[in-house]
Assembly symmetry: C2
Homo-oligomer: 329 residues x 2
DNA sequence: GTGAAAGCGCTAACAA
DNA sequence: TTGTTAGCGCTTTCAC
């Protein structure tokens, strides 16, 4: 294996000089620089990145956790983070937690072991007190999830407001029996959505009904199941906030083939405004959120912390959301 | 930062002994082992992974390239690779090439720089002659793509046969004007599909028509455009193989809202058998392929090469595919 | 069973 | 402008 010493020997210079050329340091004479570069090219030498990382104690790699990569929202989030990382010459290790607490902690071990310089959590499986101790090993930030007291940057969008808007829209369309779906109750972001939902009901003097609230709902198949549940209720909602376009798509499909008219019999509103909204019939009303931008912003914030420009401290950034009305409401 | 020396000092042993404990080597007395373990726990010591990787010249990380992560097929592929990597305690760095040749080569630089132990290419942007030189730095294998001569393991499914089956199905449904979509002409896998398409036409004495072949087609939006193209033809096909469920979904949607009856006026067949097939109206006939398994197999094959159990040599593995008939044909 | 010592490839003080 | 030297944290001979 070719090393820096080999180059130094070939060029009759010290390896320091070679290292300087490699790192674009000043104070190398033009002739030497050129000669060294020439030799490097000729014998196809490549610096060993791991040795560099070891020496500098810096990996130029960050870790990103998501529950599962095959969910369009998270795929987009990864894309945003990756795009920004690419242009900053960082690598991203994507960790799928599969909604598993242990795997999330394993991701944080990477930080402890110095295998990554920082971490972006795209979801939160563990109680914050399990996460916090890892802060001493490097910066961690929360993206697309919220915590009421964690002393780190938090980047998301206004879940409360987005949900409130959505529910008010349903109310304005004449509905007063409105259901609500969420994924996990442990998520503070999801709780904020629920608060938005309840606030809208209260503001318009509509009744709450526990039967109209559905948890553990993530994907198309869950959408299928939700329809069965709704259909089995004695008193069913006439409109439902699904929390996610996949769920909306599954729900609409089952409702339609069971003879429901969407939106007349059941209005459905999604979340995320993915392309799937435009291909199902009827098309899905949804909340548009800037996911790519969310990922990019998260990465840039992490880099700030990494470079020490900004110390790690609580800061809540909320990106704007936008209601897109289509046929399903 | 705590190091192995610190532990050694605290325990009055050499760092060799600590290292032995850390690596579960034999020949450490029970008492010492227990004492060392105890101290390690107490002061929360973690070995520095980069130092280890440096010393062992092994990163336990592999790189995986895909064109773009937010395409359901590739998201699933990543999931398969990641699942298997997780259980083998490897990390996966996912590289999105965005269909860009330079980025694909950057990924291979990781191998050259020893930042990853091996590479799985989930697509192929560059000419093989650009890729081949990197083989001397570590194992590379091809997954979901094909090459006629590359001397590496190739894992995919039988594109020819799958497409042939699909076209024959359309013919049996009474169609004789059948269109074909592909993504990129550089892809040998796509060429095999085209061969399957043409063979089926020939076997049933159906005419070829260049106007019915559409390239550069990847996602839902492309499906939208394809419909416009078909609709503008004087002599349009009555059935179309889209090569991918996203395209099929987009195409079906536009056709339907333009008053076409799918499948009567235009039969559409997808590929990949994603959940989206079940939520659009009409539901989409598709080719089911074991994507997760594809990713898992690819990882396991790479590990085999890495561990030297198997030397890197040409080997073509083709997983089975299955035609799933639904309403769109 | 255990430890001393070398060294993986590189960068960065410091000296010249 | 250049080189000498030390050392990052760890594993692995080799000798005891």
């Amino acid at each position: 294996m070719t090393t820096i010493d080999e180059i130094a020997r070939l060029c009759n210079v010290s390896k320091t000089t070679v290292s300087r050329v490699l790192n674009n340091h000043p104070y190398v004479s033009k002739e030497k620089r050129e000669m060294i570069l020439k030799v490097i090219n000729e014998i196809d030498y490549t610096p060993n990145s791991i040795a560099r990382q070891f020496r500098k104690n810096e990996t130029r790699t960050i870790a990103l956790s998501v529950p599962s990569i095959d969910h369009p929202f998270f795929a987009q989030l990864i894309k945003g983070v990756s795009l920004q990382a690419l242009s900053n010459k960082y690598k991203v290790v994507v960790f799928q937690t599969f909604y598993n607490q242990t795997i999330e902690l394993e991701l944080l071990e990477l930080l402890k072991h110095k295998e990554v310089d920082g971490v972006i959590l795209g979801a939160l499986e563990n109680n914050w007190c399990k996460i916090e101790p890892f802060l001493k090993y490097g910066p961690i930030l929360l993206c697309n999830e919220y915590h009421h007291s964690a002393n780190i940057p938090i980047i998301g969008y206004n879940e409360f407001e987005a949900t409130y808007k959505a529910i008010v829209h349903l109310i304005e369309m004449g509905h007063n029996k409105i259901g609500f779906c969420y994924d996990t109750p442990y998520s503070e972001a999801q709780c904020q959505r629920k608060d938005g939902y309840l606030k809208a009901l209260d503001d318009y003097n509509l009744p709450h009904n526990k039967d109209w609230i559905f948890g553990g709902v993530f994907n198309i198949e869950d959408g299928f199941h939700i329809f069965e549940q709704i259909n089995n209720l004695k008193d069913s909602p006439t409109a439902i906030f699904t929390g996610n376009d996949q769920v909306a798509a599954g729900l609409i499909k089952r409702a339609t083939i069971s003879g429901f008219n969407v939106p007349k019999d059941l209005a459905v509103i999604g979340f995320d405004n993915q392309l799937i909204c435009q291909v199902v019939t009827p098309t899905i009303t949804s909340i548009d959120i800037p996911i790519i931008e969310l990922g990019q912003k998260a990465f840039l914030k992490l880099i700030d912390c990494l470079l020490g420009n900004v110390s790690l401290r609580r800061e809540v950034i909320r990106l704007p959301t936008n209601l897109i009305v289509r046929e399903s409401t």
